[in-house]
């Protein structure tokens, strides 16, 4: 079993006028032009790639959370020494995350917002609010207009569909543009209080 599991991803290149297989994503490479990695977003498979330990319990925005420490056990050169996730105890949504680099320093913090989508009542991401402490880069990643349980044709997932360059549907009610820095959501904060409560000394990376 390899460290990486190849995943077929196709993309249409208007310049080439062809559908091509995208090279498998590097797990610690950035997603698009933001500071979120492919592994943060979708590549990670924590049920077999990581081992987990509950460090304690914390409360974020009124939600009681289990604080779970995860270590990658597949790749000895994995780019994180550990990933600590705050998982609320009712629906098991991850609402906060703190990532530690290979030197053991905390270098990235996420706040993750969820929305319960009517009429299905499924929980879906609405926003990832990230800050990379080592560079002071902020990333705000927003999702909106979720729909679920749609009938679909297999052809929609064929190469021919990509060639059409069709927008599947137009998004409704997009969130407003951020016009200035003050419009941004508050920066995600390190949970110093929790770390003190569990008597763990952490060091944050930063310039």
């Amino acid at each position: 079993m390899g460290v990486q599991k190849a995943r077929w991803t196709w993309s249409w290149s208007n310049k080439l006028r062809r559908v091509r297989v995208k090279n498998p994503q590097i797990k610690d490479d950035n997603y698009s032009i933001c500071d979120i990695t492919w592994d943060d977003l979708e590549e990670r498979e924590p049920w077999w790639e990581e081992i987990h330990k509950i460090l304690g319990v914390d409360t974020i925005k009124g939600e009681r959370c289990f604080v779970v420490e995860s270590h990658n056990i597949v790749d000895p050169k994995y780019y994180l020494s550990k990933r600590v996730t705050w998982v609320e105890d009712k629906d098991f949504r991850s609402v906060h995350e703190e990532q530690f680099n290979r030197q053991g320093r905390l270098f990235k913090v996420y706040d993750i917002d969820w929305v319960q989508v009517k009429p299905w009542n499924y929980w879906a991401w609405s926003q990832w609010n990230a800050k990379t402490l080592s560079t002071n880069v902020r990333t705000i990643y927003q999702w909106y207009d979720w729909i679920f349980d749609q009938d679909y044709s297999k052809r929609w997932f064929s190469q021919g569909q990509l060639r059409k360059e069709f927008i599947w549907r137009k998004a409704k009610n997009p969130p407003p543009y951020f016009k200035k820095k003050e419009d941004l959501p508050p920066e995600p904060q390190i949970r110093w209080e929790f770390w003190e409560n569990v008597n763990t000394k952490i060091t944050a990376a930063g310039k």
């Binding site: 390899g2 460290v3 599991k5 190849a6 077929w8 310049k15 080439l16 006028r17 091509r20 297989v21 090279n23 498998p24 590097i26 797990k27 610690d28 490479d29 950035n30 698009s32 032009i33 933001c34 500071d35 977003l41 979708e42 590549e43 629906d91 098991f92 949504r93 319960q116 009542n121 499924y122 929980w123 879906a124 991401w125 880069v137 902020r138 990333t139 705000i140 990643y141 927003q142 999702w143 909106y144 207009d145 979720w146 729909i147 679920f148 349980d149 679909y152 044709s153 297999k154 052809r155 064929s158 190469q159 021919g160 059409k164 069709f166 969130p175 543009y177 016009k179 820095k181 310039k207």
Partner: protein
């Protein structure tokens, strides 16, 4: 019951996303993250809001190719070095507007308008190759055919699709190293060697055609797609007229000076002259992407048949070989394959492509005018310059990622290698090309490396190509930087080296250049 979802769920729960990546270094903004885009804000947005079924996207591109030498290489066959008086091979301004209009859920109009102006003609009048003849042909897109690049209706219902109009259809997996099953279209070869894949979207000549495809899921062969193409519109490749620096008549002037050309006729519009193509491809359960192809089309460049010789003209030192360029038919069978696999601790993308040409016209030595023909004063009966031969071209590609030693960060350097072989059947050591005897096998190889930096805002690439005839092509180093989300700049080097009777060697010194490209998107 409440459920949680992420992007990796394999169902059709799809949301829309907005990403904002802001660069704050100790609280101060390095660059304006919200750039204005006046053409989009003032023209495109009002139009698309007024007509909700309309999509528009535009580009303004400037590409300037700065020549690096003021003396070129000696021409093939010997002679004086050419003196290059110009600084720019081209200063192209391209405006491009892509449009899409949804008439109904099943019917869409899709197209693209292009306008090109090459200001190098006005900028450096009197320079080599910038005379009136070339200016008329190359300075700007002056015909409907050129500026109306694409416009076709797409009807899509269930598992059927039908496209009719002016369009381009590109087959195959091979890029960087040439065209194999991708033979349907002609090209604008104003720059004979600038065949970078980035440019083919612009240089490929579109044609009026109809294309129907049918998609069949879950067969024992996987998901199968059938495609049939009917092309009643012959659109040949264009070459720059002499004395343009990159015109064949100038590059190979020692050969061309002996040729006297008749006018070329295009195939008539009758049904028997139409062009046809068919494809069947499948994506198997095992992850194999396979395709089979058939083309019955016209060669996109007319063949220079020898009609006779004029020994009197030969005595006067004038063009004496009488040539009648004629379009000829091409029959091609092709196959492609693509697969991702894991080996040697890495993920690899493997690609292969093969094209087999039946009875293709090949220039042979026994078909050329001989001393006996010249002494007799006429060409021996049956000679026309060509013999029909079968030809096979195939290419293999392996692509993976790596990280150079001592370099920090993820192993996201992309390396791709291509090997391509042209093989001639019935070979009798007699095939010629511009006076050079061709080998039975011609082999090309390309190694290319690319790497993105700064959250994909900058990309570095470099490619080296080698032909076994003894010539090299260097595409890069090249850098692309997205200054804003709407404006990016490319700068790169292209160079050639090696034997001047070989495919890349004849560009040595003549075409070495720095390419500078600015793109504004609205």
């Amino acid at each position: 019951m409440d459920r949680r979802y992420s992007l990796s769920e394999r169902t059709i729960e799809i949301g829309f996303v907005v990403i904002v990546s802001l660069f704050f270094f100790r609280g101060s903004a390095l660059a304006d993250p919200f750039p204005m885009n006046p053409p989009r804000d003032l023209i495109i947005e009002p139009l698309t809001q007024t007509f909700p079924n309309l999509e528009l996207r535009g580009y303004l591109i400037n590409e300037s190719d700065i020549l690096l030498h003021n003396t070129g290489d000696a021409p093939l066959g010997g002679g004086r070095h050419l003196h290059i008086k110009q600084n720019f091979q081209r200063i192209e301004w391209l405006g491009e507007l892509r449009y899409k209009y949804y008439f109904s859920p099943t019917l869409t109009l899709i197209g693209q308008l292009d306008y090109l102006y090459d200001s190098s003609f006005d900028w450096q009048r009197g320079a080599l190759g910038k005379g009136e003849g070339t200016e008329r042909e190359l300075e700007y897109f002056h015909s409907f055919r050129r500026w109306f690049r694409e416009g076709y209706f797409l009807w899509s219902k269930g598992d059927w699709e039908f496209r009719i109009g002016k369009q381009q259809i590109v087959w195959g997996k091979a890029t960087d190293i040439g065209h194999f099953v991708d033979q349907l279209h002609g090209y604008d070869f104003r720059e004979l060697h600038d065949t970078a894949v980035d440019d083919t979207e612009l240089t490929r000549r579109t044609a009026w055609m109809a294309d129907i495809s049918y998609y069949l899921a879950d067969t024992f062969l996987g998901d199968v797609e059938f495609e049939l193409i009917w092309m009643p519109d012959y659109e040949e490749s264009l070459y720059a007229p002499a004395p343009y620096l990159q015109s064949p008549a100038f590059i190979f002037r020692n050969s061309y000076k002996n040729l006297r050309f008749f006018k070329t006729d295009k195939p008539s519009a009758s049904f028997k002259n139409h062009e046809w193509g068919a494809r069947v491809s499948t994506f198997t359960e095992g992850g194999w992407d396979l395709g089979l192809y058939f083309l019955y089309i016209w060669e996109k460049t007319p063949y220079n048949f020898i009609k006779g010789i004029d020994t009197a003209a030969l005595g006067r030192g004038e063009p004496w070989i009488i040539i009648e360029p004629k379009p000829v038919r091409m029959t091609m069978l092709g196959a492609t394959g693509e697969k991702i696999t894991h080996m040697l601790g890495k993920d690899w993308t493997l690609r292969g492509e093969l094209a087999y040409f039946l009875n293709r016209y090949r220039s042979t030595r026994t078909e050329q005018p001989s001393a006996r023909d010249i002494a007799a004063g006429f060409l021996a009966p049956g000679k026309d310059g060509y013999t029909k031969r079968n030809e096979m071209r195939w290419a293999l590609n392996a692509e993976t990622t790596f990280k150079p030693p001592l370099v920090k960060g993820p192993a996201d350097w992309l390396i791709t290698t291509w090997v391509a072989v042209y093989n001639y059947f019935g070979y009798d050591n007699d095939q010629t090309e511009l006076g050079k005897t061709l080998d039975k096998w011609q082999t090309y190889g390309i190694v290319s490396i690319s790497k993105s930096f700064w959250n994909d805002r900058a990309t570095f690439s470099c490619a080296v190509g080698y032909n076994d005839g003894g010539s090299w092509r260097f595409a890069g180093p090249k850098m692309n930087y997205e200054i804003t989300n709407t404006f990016n700049v490319d700068i790169g080097y292209t160079g050639y080296a090696g034997n001047n009777d070989d495919v890349w060697g004849w560009g040595d010194r003549n075409f070495d250049e720095i390419q500078l490209e600015f793109t504004y998107t609205f």
